[in-house]
């Protein structure tokens, strides 16, 4: 992960994330109509247009509110570079992978 990413002005996709209530695990909204959730960004649903992302986000928030299983549901920007999904913000890259100072921890450890 480069310390500062200069290519962040390229067109971005969106994904939806949250923390799972019972253990705090970072989760992502999965593709498909059933509002499922996955632990890895690679398996997450990607949204090309903002309106679709907004709709999915609203549904995901309503579901989380209803079923009380996730907190802090929000959408973030990412790009696909060389087939890799890379969040635009360092914060989201760290959430998706794990701490940059302990690559033996977080989701990156199992990669």
């Amino acid at each position: 992960m480069a310390l500062n990413d200069k290519s962040r002005n390229e067109a971005a996709l969106k994904a939806i994330t949250a923390n799972r209530l019972r253990d705090g695990e970072v989760i992502f909204l999965a593709p498909g109509p059933n509002l499922g959730w996955v632990e890895r960004l690679d398996d997450a649903a990607l949204f090309e247009d903002a309106a679709a992302a907004d709709t999915a986000l609203a549904a995901a928030k309503a579901q989380a509110e209803d079923e009380q299983f996730a907190v802090d549901v929000y959408a973030f920007d990412l790009r696909v570079t060389d087939g890799q999904r890379v969040p635009v913000k360092t914060r989201e890259r760290i959430r998706a992978l794990g701490p940059t100072v302990r690559i033996d921890l977080g989701k990156q450890a199992a990669a």
């Binding site: 310390l3 500062n4 990413d5 962040r8 923390n19 209530l21 019972r22 253990d23 705090g24 695990e25 970072v26 509110e65 079923e67 009380q68 907190v71 802090d72 635009v88 913000k89 360092t90 914060r91 760290i94 959430r95 794990g98 701490p99 940059t100 100072v101 302990r102 921890l105 977080g106």
Partner: protein, 562 residues
Amino acid sequence: MNHIAPGRNAGVYSYDDIDRRFVTERVEQFRAQVERRLSGELTEDEFKPLRLMNGLYLQLHAYMLRIAVPYGVLTARQLRKLAEIGRKYDKGYGHFTTRQNLQFNWIKLEDTPAILHELAEVDMHALQTSGNCVRNVTTDQFVGAARDEVVDGRVYAEILRQWTTLHPEFTFLPRKFKIAIMGSDADRAAIRVHDVGVFAKRNERGEVGFTFYVGGGLGRSPFIGKLIRDWVPEEDFVAYLEAILRVYNQYGRRDNIYKARIKILVHELGQEKFTQEVEEEFARLRGPKYRLAPEVVDEIRRRFGGPAFETLTDEPESFQAAKAANPDFARWVAVNVLAHKVPGYAAATISLKPAGGIPGDATSEQMELIADLADAHSFGELRVSHAQNLVLAHVRQDALFTLWTALEANGLGTPNAGLIGDIIACPGLDYCALANARSIPLAQAISARFADPARQQTIGELGIKISGCINACGHHHVGAIGILGVDKKGEEFYQITVGGDPTLTTAIGDILGPAVTADETVDAIEAIVEVYLSNRHDGERFIDTLKRVGHGPFKERVYAAH
């Protein structure tokens, strides 16, 4: 339950049944709250304040549990329990913080009641580590040991802990409230950057009294605490503090989180008016209810016990011979070991800052080793320092070599206490939900750049402190060199300040110039050090040279390439 026998761990406050029942009841109360949250009966909005009251935050990767280490003092048994929790419920390590607490970064909400229950077994908890209450009272990591100590600050910190825990008026203050107390002729607890900083001292008759500084604090608007009273007699200690908190509770702003701290109140009312309000409240309060009776103080002091020191002499032969035969040991002694008030003993700092390491992190194995060393060499107790190190406070000088050998073999013998490698760093963007930039990688890169212990010793006393955002958890404002992470259009940048001072001569550092990238920051630190070394007079510390020559030469060198 198998509790600590009173007096077994000399110098550590021992709980009685009332203390234990209270903590256990709180654990059960929280267990029920967690169950209601998991079943969906409570919403996050309802639950969040309840979990925060038990030290549980949600961070980037998981929940973070902040465990209270009252005034930084722990028993070996408690540290072993923390190691066990780290292994069982976290990822095999813990992080010691600038508030002398311990944080676990990978906690599951559903495990939290079990963790708190296990903590209660060793008289520990996570109360008052979060929320708008009186937080863990911090003090000198050498309390009860330092040769320059005048008053044992632990006793009064414990009195404050008991006074403020569950105090109905102080559970919902306008904002969090931090108190630090010092009982030596030096300031090792940064008391003037706390909401209330207390200096315990003695008058000519040997009576204990207190000097109060109020309204210090870092964060978005840093302020240095102002002297509001030079001498509060011991019996009025609680009354005076209560008066301060009442004035704050009454006038402190609740409409704006950024203006809610007492530092803003003191600043806006002015030192004189604020002091007058406190004095008036104090005059009303003073009386039997608030009088701190000498018997109470004696009882608390008794419950700390006292190490059974032997009659020894300083600098025993074996110690001198070990130093002569082993220069690395001699260096560690010169840098990490402090004179003790009892002859033949010493206080040893265990650095949690190996070159290239993560400041304040300790693995479960390291915690267990240190617990064993505390049992073997320091009456079964140890301390957490606000600089994120551990301290064995009462080591026989003739045992120092054995101690050092064990530490050295486990990556814990770094001789850098107070030197450039002893960097304070908050978790920053690697863990923290509020961060703008990472702090830890910078600390690692700088400590690796200055890894050579001889060079560090040549540079001498120089504190680098790093925060990942303006909240200043890493105390960057009072670093001789401070580094603040800032976000510039989604990129991590770092602002360098110089001239901060956390001791009684408190100073907030000045910004050196425009923020730079992480790589440039490491070079900038190197440049600053070079300018210092080429300008310093004999025996002059970094901040003294800086004061004498001004920012000019430093700024010039750092920004020469720009």
